[in-house]
Subunit: 438 residues, 2 copies
C-alpha cells in the first residue's frame, strides 16, 4: 500500500479505534502546547506577528493566543509561531521535529470553525501528528541534513490531516488536500536562531488549514502529492526512508507517543544530564560545596551545541552543561524561562563550580542519554545516568507538566489544566475561549 493510502486510512480512523493511551499523550501535548503558547505571547515575534496579521481583520472564528479571534488560516499562523517562540514545546526525535506547534493550531482553528467537540481537537491532532511523524521519518535525516525543517515540512502534512478531518473531508478531498500541501509546504533550518524558526511552525499550521479548506471547496491537485512523480518526497529527499516507516510498528502502535516534553527551559541536549543529577540530588541531598568534581559523558553531537564553557548571556546558559550542572545542585529552577538572565551568567558561585565539571563526548552514548560520575569532597564517587527515551509513568509526566506550567504561568495555568481534564465535556470553542482568556 502506498504511503498516501496509509495516510488517508489514518486520517479516517474512527475515534473508537484510537488507543486510550495514545489519546492521553495527545492530551498531555494539548496542555503543554497551550502552556507554551500562553507563555510566549509577549515574545517580540509573537507581538509583531499578532499586530501584522491582526490588522487584516476578518471574521473572528478562531481563537488567537494572546486574545481575540481571527479567520482560521490567520489564527493558525499566529498561534503556531507564538507557541514555538520559546522553543519549549514537545519534540519527536524520530520525526525530527516539534509536532504540537505545527499541528495543534490547525486542529483548534478548524474545530472552532465547525463547532466541533474539544475531544475531537485532540483526536484530530493525534492522527495528524502520527501522519507527520511517519512522513518526517520517510523524508529521513537526509532531508533534515540538507536543510529542511521537518516541523514545517512534515508538520504541514500533519496539520492538513488534522484540519481536513475536522472540516469533514471525504477521502477524495483529503487526497487533494495532501496534494495541495505538497506544493504549499516549506521550511528551512537556516532560520534557526532567528524569528524565522517559530514562523516555520506557523507556516505549517496555516498551510494545513488553507489546503484543507481549498480541498473542501474541491480544488483539484496531484493524485499522489507525497510519493508520486515529482511529489514532495522525491523533490525534497535524496534518500527517503521507505522501509519500515509504515510496516514495522505493530497495528495500533502510534509512533507519535514517543514524543518528549521539554521540562527545562534550556537546550534539549542538556536535559538527560539535568534529570540524572536531579535524581541523584533528590536521593543524596547534595549541594555545591559537597561536590569536588563532575565527569559527564554525553553524545559527541551535543558538544558543538550545548557545551558553552563560559556563557555570557542568559541565552548562552541554556546551552551550557557546566552552568546547568551547578544550577541543579544549587536548586535554581531550570524549568522557568525567567531563570535564564544575564545576571545568572555572571553568578560567581556558578562560575567557580563550572571549573569542576568535565564534559566528554562518548560515541557509545545516544542523543537522549547522559552518564557520569560525581566525586564528592568526602572521597565517595556516585554514578549517574538517565535516558530520556525511558517511559515516564503517566502520573509522573502529568505532575512534571503541571509543575512546568506552574513555573511558566503560575496560577494562570489552572484553567488550562481544567479544560484539558474536562476535555470530553466541552466544545472546541470553549477550549478556545479558555485559551484566549488566560
Amino acid at each position: 500500500m502506498t504511503t498516501i493510502d496509509q495516510v488517508l486510512d489514518l486520517a479516517a480512523l474512527p475515534a473508537a479505534a484510537i488507543p486510550p493511551a495514545a489519546r492521553q499523550i495527545a492530551r498531555f501535548s494539548l496542555f503543554d502546547w497551550m502552556v507554551c503558547g500562553v507563555a510566549g505571547v509577549n515574545e517580540p515575534l509573537a507581538l509583531r506577528l499578532r499586530a501584522v496579521i491582526g490588522a487584516e481583520g476578518g471574521h473572528p472564528i478562531a481563537s488567537v493566543i494572546g486574545g481575540g479571534a481571527l479567520p482560521a488560516r490567520a489564527a493558525a499562523l499566529v498561534n503556531g509561531a507564538t507557541s514555538h517562540a520559546l522553543d519549549y514545546d514537545d519534540t519527536h526525535f524520530a520525526h525530527v521535529g516539534h509536532p504540537s506547534v505545527g499541528i495543534y493550531p490547525a486542529a483548534l482553528a478548524a474545530a472552532e470553525a465547525v463547532d466541533a467537540p474539544a475531544a475531537d481537537v485532540a483526536d484530530a491532532f493525534l492522527l495528524g501528528a502520527e501522519a507527520s511523524v511517519r512522513i518526517g521519518m520517510l523524508l529521513g535525516t537526509v532531508h533534515y541534513n540538507r536543510g529542511f525543517h521537518q516541523t514545517a515540512t512534515a508538520g504541514a502534512f500533519g496539520a492538513t490531516v488534522a484540519a481536513g478531518r475536522l472540516y469533514g473531508l471525504d477521502r477524495a478531498q483529503m487526497r487533494a488536500a495532501i496534494g495541495l500541501c505538497a506544493t504549499r509546504a516549506s521550511g528551512l533550518k537556516s532560520q534557526f536562531g532567528t524569528m524565522g524558526k517559530p514562523y516555520n511552525a506557523g507556516i505549517a499550521a496555516s498551510n494545513g488549514v488553507e489546503c484543507a479548506l481549498l480541498a473542501q471547496a474541491r480544488l483539484t491537485s496531484a493524485d499522489d502529492g507525497l510519493e508520486g512523480p515529482q511529489g514532495f518526497v522525491p523533490t525534497h529527499s535524496d534518500a527517503p526512508q521507505t522501509e519500515g516507516v509504515w510496516t514495522d510498528p505493530p497495528p495500533g502502535r502510534f509512533l507519535f507517543t514517543d514524543v518528549k516534553y521539554k521540562l527545562h527551559a534550556c537546550c534539549h541536549g542538556t536535559h538527560a544530564m539535568i534529570e540524572a543529577l536531579a535524581a541523584l540530588k533528590a536521593a543524596q541531598g547534595l549541594d555545591l560545596a559537597q561536590v569536588a568534581k563532575i565527569h559527564l559523558r554525553t553524545s559527541p553531537r551535543w558538544l558543538s551545541v550545548c557545551d558553552i564553557k563560559t556563557p555570557r548571556t542568559g541565552l548562552e546558559v541554556k546551552f551550557s552543561y557546566v552552568w546547568l550542572a551547578g544550577m541543579v545542585l544549587a536548586e535554581i529552577p531550570t524549568a522557568a524561562d525567567t531563570t535564564y538572565t544575564d545576571a545568572l551568567a555572571a553568578d560567581p558561585a556558578l562560575a567557580a563550580f563550572a571549573g569542576r565539571v568535565q564534559v566528554t563526548g562518548d560515541p557509545a552514548i545516544g542523543d537522549m542519554q547522559a552518564q557520569g560520575e560525581v566525586s564528592l569532597a568526602d572521597g565517595r564517587i556516585l554514578h549517574f545516568a538517565h535516558d530520556l527515551a525511558a517511559p515516564i509513568p503517566s502520573n509522573v509526566l502529568e505532575a512534571s507538566l503541571r509543575a512546568k506550567a506552574q513555573g511558566l504561568l503560575g496560577a494562570r495555568s489552572a484553567s488550562l489544566w481544567s479544560a484539558v481534564a474536562d476535555l470530553d465535556g466541552i466544545s472546541a470553542r470553549t477550549l478556545g475561549l479558555t485559551l484566549r482568556a488566560v
Copy 2:
C-alpha cells in the same frame, strides 16, 4: 558581490534609473496580466478560491479580480491563481516561469495598501521580475527538472521584492524579507494539469506580501536566505547556475525584457508554427484546399508535449500541431480560449487536413523556433520559419496584445488599456478599481 546584495541593489534602484524600454515592457505585461485575470474569473478554480478566501472577510484594502476587495495577502493569493487559471499569461524562457502572475498581484495589493501611484506598481513589478528571473536562472534547469516550479519558487522572491519596495522596506528589512521568503517559498510541477498549477502563482504572490509585511514589522530571519548555509538555493538546486547570472548582462540590461506573450490560447510549443504559417498565409493567401502537404520541423522536446495526432477534446486541440496548422489556414481564431471546443476536435475538415501534416523533431531547432515547407497542390514548395525570440517592434506587440484582449474580453478590454495608457496619471487604487469593475 553576493546574489543577495545584488538583489538588494536592484530592489532599491531609483525609478529614474529604470530604462524606458524596460518600463514599457513591464506595462505591456501589466495589461496582459489584467486581461488574463479578468478572462479567468469564471474558471472553476477562480470561483472556488474566491469563495473560500472571500469568506474570511477582513479589511477591504486590495482589489480582487472578479470584484470586491480583501486584505493584501488574501487578494494576492486569489489574483495570482485567477490570472494563471487560463495559462495564457506571459512566460520567460530563461527564468523558466511565468513572471506576471506571481508578482503583479503582490505589487498591486501592496501598492493599494499604501496608496502608491499606479506607475510604481509597474516599476516595482519590473524590479521584482528582474530579481525573479535571475534567481530562477541561478536555481537553474536542474531545479525545474527535479520538480520545482520556478513560477512559484523564484516568483515568490520577485513578489517579495516588489511588495517590499512598495511597503518602503529599508535595506535591512528587505534582507529579512528575502530571508523569510527563503523559508516560505514553495511550488511543485507535479501540480501541472490540476488546479494546483494556478494555485502556485497565488502562493508566490501571497508569500511575497506576507514576507514583506512581516519584515516591515521587524521579524528577523537568515542573513542570506538565498545562498547562505542551507539557504533556498543550496537546498533547492543540486547545481546552481552561479556563473554569469549577474555579471554577463551589461549594466542596465533587464533580462526580464526577453519575456514572451502568449498570443494564442494553446500550448506555447505550437506558437512558432502558428506565427510562421500565419505569415505565409498573409503573404500568399493560402487556404486548406490549396495545401497538399505541410512538413513541420520543431524541437524534439515538444514532440511529447504538443504533437497529439487525434485530439479528442478542445483541450487536446491546444496540444495538437496537426489540428492547429489547419486552423491557421482555415482562419479559425487561435487567440480566443472559447475557440477550443470539443466540437472543434471532431471537425471533419480539420481531421482530413491533419493527415497532410507531418511533424519531425530536429535537434538543430530551438524551443522557440519552427521551420518547414508547405507543398501546394499546384506543385510549388514554400518555406516557412519563425523564431519567437526575435524582437517584436513595440507597435506590433501593442497591436497583438490589444487584439488578444479584444478576443478574450471584447469591448470590456478598453478600460484596462486606458488605465495602462494613463498609468502615470492615476493611483494604484484607481487601477485596482478599474480592474475589479471590468
